[in-house]
Structures are given as C-alpha cells and as structure tokens.
C-alpha cells in the first residue's frame, strides 16, 4: 500500500525531471521556440500537491508550470507537442511553455503575469461550494507573487467570504534575480497570513511524501472550515530564472547553496525511500527507463507532428 504510493510519486517526480532533462538536451536545436521556466528543484511540491488533490481538482499555476502539467496529466506527449508548437499540443501550439493547460486533467491553466491566477483559484473554489461539490481549487505561486496586491486581495477576499481556496506558496527566495529579503517588508509571511481567517500549513521539505501528507491535511481543513488554506513550501531553483542553464557564476548567488539543497534533491530523496522500502535497484532502473523511453517517444512524435494551419490563428478568439 504505502509502497505503491511511493512508487507512483517517484514515477511522477521522475517524469518531470527526465522531461526537463530532455528539454535541456533538445532546446539548443531551436525547435522548441518558447521561453522555458524550469521546475527543476521544485518537483516535490508540484507532484505532492497535485497527486494528493486527485483527479478532479482545478489547479492553476504560474509560467513555471512544467511540473504541474506533467503531474496533472501523467504523460509527456501533449507536453512536448505544445512546447514544439504543434497542433497535437493541448492548446494546438498557441500556449507554449508559459500557458500550459489540461482542463480534462484538472489543470486549468498557467499565466505569465505574476500572481494573476490567485483570484482565479478563489473564483473556482467559490464555484465548487456554489455547486456543492467537494472539488478543490488550488493555485501555485511564488515569493515574487506575494509582492503583488492581487495576492493580498485574493487572500482577504477568500478569508472574508469564507471561500476554501488552496494557496500553494512556493518560496524559492527569488523573483528572477532579486532575493526576497530585498522585496519583502516582513520577516515571516506565514505569521502574517495566519492572522487572516486562513489556515496556514507549513511544510518546507523537498520530500514529496511530506508535501503529499500536508496537502491531505489541507484538504481536510478546507472541507471542514470553509476558509482558505495557505500551504507554505520552500525549494531551491536549480537553474536560471528562464532558460536551461545554471547561473551560479553571474553574481547574485553561488553554487554552495545549490550543493546544500542538492543533498535533499526531491528525486533522490524519493529514490532512496524506494530503496529503503526494499525496491531493487534494477526495478527502479526499469521504471526510469520506461519513463525515459516514453519521453523520447513524446519528443519524436512532437518533432514530427504538424504545425497548425495558418488559418487557425483566427480560431478560438471567441467561443462558438
């Protein structure tokens, strides 16, 4: 039982990690013409939350959405198709990396305007209680997003009106290159948010199962209390803000920090757990290989898929 979930989560983590590695391997071919905000380092949060939420949740995210997309859909075919700008992408190539969505898998979309999905999650959560559904609406956002007024508006509104939205705060300490110490006029955001009619759950681990458990707790409290939950998480962004490279040499941060965090790498942690649980190295290698092959296949299919026809530019401006 326990171990089945552990494997499932490992697969999900590995799918994200290996997909981003495939992006790195292929990006310089210049066929994925879309700016990449890589999830690497933060996989445990997206995977833990998305898996705990289950199939029919409504999830929103920022442009840093690869992990969310892959955790929601569990497959790489439409992912790479979208990155390659192909008709076979979920958005037919119109979205690219910054606007991924998969509504049928409960991923309601990513936005490249910082903090802009926060009120959407509140609105979706409202719709759920309106319709007396237990579905949960959640959004991911970063430590830059909380600088924006709409974060506070969304927090206040959901707290004042008793709307059980799940706010997943992903603190990587940076907005582009600017550390939060220079942007946050306070020491502890968690302390502030807990003064709102909002439940704060802190889980600052890169262990996917801890995130998973924290999310389950959040779900219980959302149902029970009819008020929002602020799930406060933390991770280290391995790569540059946008792009596929590390940037430890440009001045604003150093490699040392990475080395510390890398010891708690979410993928490694979960792999070690599987070993502890008695899964053999070869079984794990088998799992990894399957995923890698699926990704390689997805990349190949995406490369070969057709672009949308020119006329499609004008489609879907309006529905109907």
């Amino acid at each position: 039982m326990k171990s089945e979930l552990s494997i499932k989560l490992y697969k999900a983590l590995y799918l994200v990690r290996a997909s981003e590695q495939a992006i790195i391997a292929h990006y310089l071919e210049d066929d994925m013409k879309t700016p990449m905000h890589m999830s690497m380092g933060g996989e445990a949060i997206s995977v833990g939350v998305c898996h705990a939420l289950g199939k029919d949740a409504q999830v929103f995210s920022s442009y840093r959405s690869h992990a969310v997309y892959l955790a929601r859909t569990g497959e790489a075919d439409t992912f790479f198709a979208e990155l390659y700008g192909k008709r076979t992408g979920n958005a037919k190539g119109k979205a690219g990396s910054m606007h991924l969505s998969a509504p049928s898998a409960g991923f309601f979309g990513a936005s490249a305007i910082v903090a802009s999905t926060l009120p959407l999650a509140v609105g979706a959560a409202f719709a759920n209680i309106y319709k007396k559904k237990k579905t949960i609406a959640a959004t991911f956002f970063g430590d830059g997003a909380v600088d924006e007024g709409v974060f506070w508006e969304s927090l206040n509104m959901s707290a004042a009106l008793g709307i059980p939205a799940l706010f997943v705060y992903e603190d990587n300490g940076l907005a582009v290159h600017n550390p939060k110490e220079r942007r946050h006029g306070y020491r502890s955001l968690d302390a502030i948010v807990s003064k709102f009619e909002c439940t704060v759950i802190e889980e600052k681990s890169t262990d996917v199962e801890k995130i998973y458990a924290a999310t389950q707790k959040a779900m219980r409290l959302l149902q029970k209390n009819k008020r929002p939950v602020f799930l406060s998480t933390q991770y280290y962004r391995y790569l540059e803000h946008v792009g596929i490279n590390t940037d430890f040499d440009v001045g604003y941060r150093g490699r040392k920090e990475f080395d510390v965090w890398e010891k708690h790498d979410p993928v490694k942690l979960q792999r070690a757990r599987l070993i502890r649980q008695g899964l053999s190295e070869s079984k794990i290698l088998g799992i990894e290989k399957d995923i890698e092959q699926a990704i390689a296949g997805a990349v190949r299919k995406a490369q070969r898929a057709p672009f949308p026809a020119n006329a499609e530019l004008y489609q879907d401006v309006f529905y109907g």
Binding site: Q58, A95, S101, P119, V122, G123, Y130, K131, T135, V150
Partner: protein
C-alpha cells in the same frame, strides 16, 4: 411583476433600470449558475437600482457585495466561469474597472484562445459610465475604445430599455466575456419593452431614426443627443439618420456603410475621448468603405481631449451634445446656424425620460 410562468409576449413601459433588473431576474431564474457580485451591488441602493431586490429573491449566495478589490474581483469571475458558473460582475463606474485592466486584457480576453479553445469564459461585466453632479476626472470615463481594442472581449453599449434588456440576456447566455457599458442618465429613460424578451443578437446595429441627409453613428447617450438634434433639424427640413451600433464588438459595419451610402455624409458622435477612440475606427472604416461616395470627410464628435473638470460651465464644454451635432450637420450641409437660444437641451437636472 415580471413572470416566467405564463408566456407573455406583450410589451409594457419600463425604465432602462428596470429592464436590466428584469433581464437579470429572468436569467437567474432560467439558469441557477448565474450570479451577481461586486462592490456595493447588494446594498439598498443596488447600483442605481439595477441590482435591487436580487438578494431578496435569490439569496446572498447568488447576489452579494464584496470587498473592494477590482483586480481580484474580475479574476474571481474568470475562475468561477472556468469552473462552470456564469458570473455577472458589476462596477459602479468604469473608472474603477481600470484597476482590473490586467485581468481583462491579459487573462479574461485570452484564456479561451490560450487554451486552444479547451476552456470557455461565460462572463458578464457591467460597468456604469456617465455624468453626475460635478464628478470630475475620476468618475467620468467611458473608454469603450480601450476595451474594444482587446481581441477576445465583446463590448456592448445599449441605448434603449429594450436593448438594455435584450442585450443583457444575450450577454448572460454568451459563452464569451462580454462588457456592457451603461450610461447612468439612461437609467431613467422609459420605453416599451417586451415583458418576455428573447435574446437580442449581437452585431446588429439599430437604426434609431431614418433620414436622407446625413448619417449620425452614435454610441450610448449620444443617441439621445442625436435624437434631440434630429428634432431641431427636422423643423428646418433636415433629416438625419441615426445609427446606433449597440455592440462595438462585434460591429455591424454593414448597416453603417449602407446608411452612409444612402446619405453620402457621416458624423460619428462617440461618448468618449477622440484620440484613437471608437469614433476614429468608424471614421476610418466609413472613409474606406464609402470612398468616392462621401461628399465630405466624416465628422468626429467626442469629449474634449482633456481630463473632465468639475465645474459645470467647463463640464458643459467638455461633453458634446445635441448642439454639437447640430453645428456639425450645419457645417457639413453648409447651412446657416439654427437659432438654439430657445431650445431646451438635456442636463443633470433635465433628464431625458423616454420614450425613444
């Protein structure tokens, strides 16, 4: 009282305000996913009476006042629409809606497109424009050109009570975001409105008045001013044709062009500033589509290109009116100026009461 129970195809006299109320009630009864929210929409004043009684009829769940946070409110509507509701978000002034410009232009307008058509956004935003009592520069904007500029938003400006009702019904049933812009001076106008009204199609202009001499394309309140101008001009035998586009997006270019092809002259009287305004769009299109037919350049009537001042005498110069239209018609037709000293034009104190 309005009733869904009996099929009723009669008309009755109704104010623009009550027409909006009726449409809202009708649609909230028809579809339980329709709800109304916004700053101060559920108080005893109910946005000039246009949301009055909703909370009593449908409960606080489907009609409620909110905290003051326009950006979040519009995003909230988007999220609720994506999750299957049909929100109506009301803003007491369009000036306040500008706080949500990001949600409108970056989010609401594009979510359907950006998802490759997977998700849809059935959302209505009602915003009030119009003059008041020395409202000055933060309570006077209109800016339909700004919203109409953004692909993915439909923009509606109803003039008559019947249009207010029919177009709101259509907006609520539309699976796209629709912005409805309502002039507060129109709320008092009373006219015939079908008791049970069907949706009124978007993209169909309304020829408010037939005339052979010149076409006046007017938006919102400017239609009232144009009708008043027509009255005065008719007395000296000048017949103006008034075309109300009603929906700016989608635009019924055909009806406008057909009218100008008949009259060979055109004035666009837009309730907004001029520079890059909707009047510019109409002037550009008419100049193109009626090239060689037009006997004179398209005349453009609009606000003075200044912030709106408070003091009444300057406000009167700021806003164009029937007189501005009359003078422009005279200019184009090379007529001597009509004596207007004995005319009574509309004002804050002397409101248009209908009928059209």
């Amino acid at each position: 009282m309005f009733s869904m129970d009996k099929k009723n195809i009669q008309s009755k006299m109704l104010s623009y305000r009550d027409a909006i109320c009726e449409a809202t009630v009708q649609e909230m009864k028809r579809d339980k996913n329709v709800f109304v929210y916004g700053i101060d929409i559920a108080d005893h004043k109910g946005i000039f009476g246009t949301t009055a009684g909703l909370a009593e009829k449908f409960g606080a769940k489907r009609s409620f006042s909110t905290p003051l946070c326009e950006e979040a409110l519009v995003g909230f509507g988007l999220g609720s629409a994506l999750a299957g509701l049909r929100p109506i978000n009301v803003h007491m002034r369009i000036d306040f809606l500008l706080l949500a410009m990001n949600q409108l232009s970056n989010m609401v307008s594009s979510w359907h497109y950006g998802s490759g058509g997977q998700m849809k956004v059935p959302m209505v935003i009602r915003a009030v424009i119009g003059r008041g009592w020395g409202q000055s520069y933060q309570h006077n904007k209109s800016m339909q050109s700004v919203f109409a500029h953004i692909p993915g938003l439909k923009v509606v400006m109803p003039t008559t009570p019947e249009d207010a009702k029919g177009l709101l019904i259509t907006a609520i049933r539309d699976d796209n975001p629709v912005l409805i812009i309502e002039h507060r001076w129109l709320y008092d106008a009373i006219d015939k409105v079908p008791a049970r009204q069907e949706p009124m199609p978007f993209g169909k202009a309304h020829v408010l008045r037939r005339g052979k001499d010149i076409t006046v394309v007017a938006t919102s309140w400017m239609n009232v001013e144009a009708l008043r101008a027509a009255e005065v001009l008719a007395r000296r035998g000048v017949e103006i044709e008034i075309v109300d586009p009603r929906t700016l997006v989608p635009l019924d270019e055909k009806t406008i062009v057909r009218s100008v092809q008949k009259t060979k002259r055109c004035i666009v009287a837009d309730y907004d500033w001029g520079f890059c305004g909707f009047g510019a769009e109409i002037a550009a299109r008419v100049s193109e589509k009626c090239f060689g037919v037009l006997r004179a350049p398209v005349g453009r009537i609009h606000f003075a290109d200044t912030p709106c001042p408070c003091t009444r005498p300057l406000e009167m110069v700021f806003y164009p009116g029937a007189e501005t239209i009359i003078r422009e018609v005279e200019r184009q037709l090379k007529l001597t100026p009509t004596d207007l000293t004995k005319e009574n034009f509309y004002s804050y104190e002397r409101k248009f009461k209908g009928p059209f």
